[in-house]
Symmetry: C2
Subunit: 368 residues, 2 copies
Amino acid sequence: MSGRSIFGHVDISALREQFPVLGRLAYLNAGTDGPLPVRARDAAAAELERELGEGRAHAHFERRAQLSAALRQEYAAVLGCATDDLALTSGTSEGLSIVVEGLRLGAGDEILTSDEEHPGLLGALQAVRDLAGVRIRVAPFQELANAVTPTTTLVACSHVNWTRGAFAPAELAEVDVPVVFDGAQGAGAVPIDLAALGCDAYAAAGQKWLCGPDGTGLLYVGPKLRERLAVTRRSYANLADGSAGLAADLQPDARRFDTASLSAEAVATAGAAVGVLADFGWSALHGRAISLAERFASRLAEVGRTVAPRGPSTLVSFSSVDPEAERERLSAAGVVVRSLPGGQWLRASVGAWNDESDLERLLAALDR
Amino acid sequence: MSGRSIFGHVDISALREQFPVLGRLAYLNAGTDGPLPVRARDAAAAELERELGEGRAHAHFERRAQLSAALRQEYAAVLGCATDDLALTSGTSEGLSIVVEGLRLGAGDEILTSDEEHPGLLGALQAVRDLAGVRIRVAPFQELANAVTPTTTLVACSHVNWTRGAFAPAELAEVDVPVVFDGAQGAGAVPIDLAALGCDAYAAAGQKWLCGPDGTGLLYVGPKLRERLAVTRRSYANLADGSAGLAADLQPDARRFDTASLSAEAVATAGAAVGVLADFGWSALHGRAISLAERFASRLAEVGRTVAPRGPSTLVSFSSVDPEAERERLSAAGVVVRSLPGGQWLRASVGAWNDESDLERLLAALDR
């Protein structure tokens, strides 16, 4: 199956058919968890059926390894990196922790971050602050590049921030210290050019814009950083030769950073979901989602909502007098958005799978 | 459904019906991955169907939290501990890493371990050796209690070892330093009395003797150790109030050690699997499995195989001239065991779901 037309546009009805939730709800929540495609559910069911009937022994572990290799390839294509530089994780938080811990910073070090970061990154920063005495300095998101000083050891921030879909300053590509991006709202949502971003690591989620299961994720670690990055947690998956015991070497490539255990069914689900999207073509998907999100932003402004300053991303945060109450009312009307902490904003996540009808449903359901 | 007879014996045919693989194979591999029960597959399918049709938003995260709380209760019942002391992990390796890292040992410290440990524990030990300069001292498994000296800071070893199903010396309950057990071959397989074991932490697997999915596990951390144990990795799941940003407090209980992200479908699968077993009654299951394993050991000895010294556990390791070739031949004959590194042993994992027919199939398929 392919939904790609010869003109590179997305065949939206074929795409939407993959996502049953779209037939019922105006589902605008991929910034939390994406819609799950039928093909992903079917892949999970097939793996579970195999495990049920055949058990989980030698052939099962070979199957898991094959599925993991295939998922690594799919994820690497999303980020445009080599498979050797791509680790499989349980999500963005784990990927960020692997990098922030692995640098083994201490009391003389400073991590620069922004005032609009997600708890997934803040948890990792908190840990090295509390346990290793690393200084965490917070600057306004848009000022990050200017805020780098000679005392800065690492920049850790969003590529696209979760609060309003703004992009990190392009000037971060020029700073002299390593940059790790929280790519939770980037991977799958917007085009990613790692070379242009100039980042050394990029951590992202499998369950958001890549429409996979909770508990999956991806971590790019560039070759330069890989040499510097200690492997702080080690399981069988990270060892090149587990049977060598305490003398075992680490995997030579990014598998040294892989999460300890992803089930065959989770990996198959994630891979099938990415496959559904890849079949339609990333460029066409990104173009469609970004322009649709722009339309959401314009129409929301027209009906009197303040739209938070954003980039050409897939998130649209708009003002609400009582976001939690309005979220619940929207949900009751079949429109799924999320409220943001702070009591002022609702956030609509707009994917290529959404369409004009979802926008109209949102507008009709809003309090005027 | 309950398979418990009024006499506390296991209704074996009702139990075996839950495991379709047993209708085809003499499946003796729970020490790697247990057989998956029908009810667990059905629970996964139901969650995926819900996610497919309803999406994954507010109600989804409430459902995940409910499922996690229920699984924590099931796991706590397996170990006989309070739910407040039970963390959900991705497997034994992660649980062991959480403890070994969290003690923040350094160059003056020594971890005592044995010469028969699994790479899942050795990886964690290797990490603190290489990164923090902790000394790792290796003693014969059965000599561990005597090998504790004033320089020992922590004992980290199997409760039941994976190589031959022997038990750690009971005298470890009396040593003056913290003890963390690798319980991968303990939890679900044999009775566990944490107070009698005298351990401070017990890490185990969801996918082995608890018949759940890969990527699930449990970690007991006793109240005394919890206060000493730093939370080295922190995600949203570990924070009491993620919206407090860098000022967020850790969860007050063992949730501070929870793995970052377990999917609803994985948690539901794990919970349903444990539920199948719990319905039959742990005591009856343990009794049946341990006596059946003893019978495997006797019969294997009768046909001339050397059985490695073992305890009253569910693992039976027996000699083989060419274990890898014999494992493959057994597999072709529908008998699933594993070969162990070192080139001398095959290992049969005997669960309460196995029966005399599995033993006969194994014996018939062995080279004589």
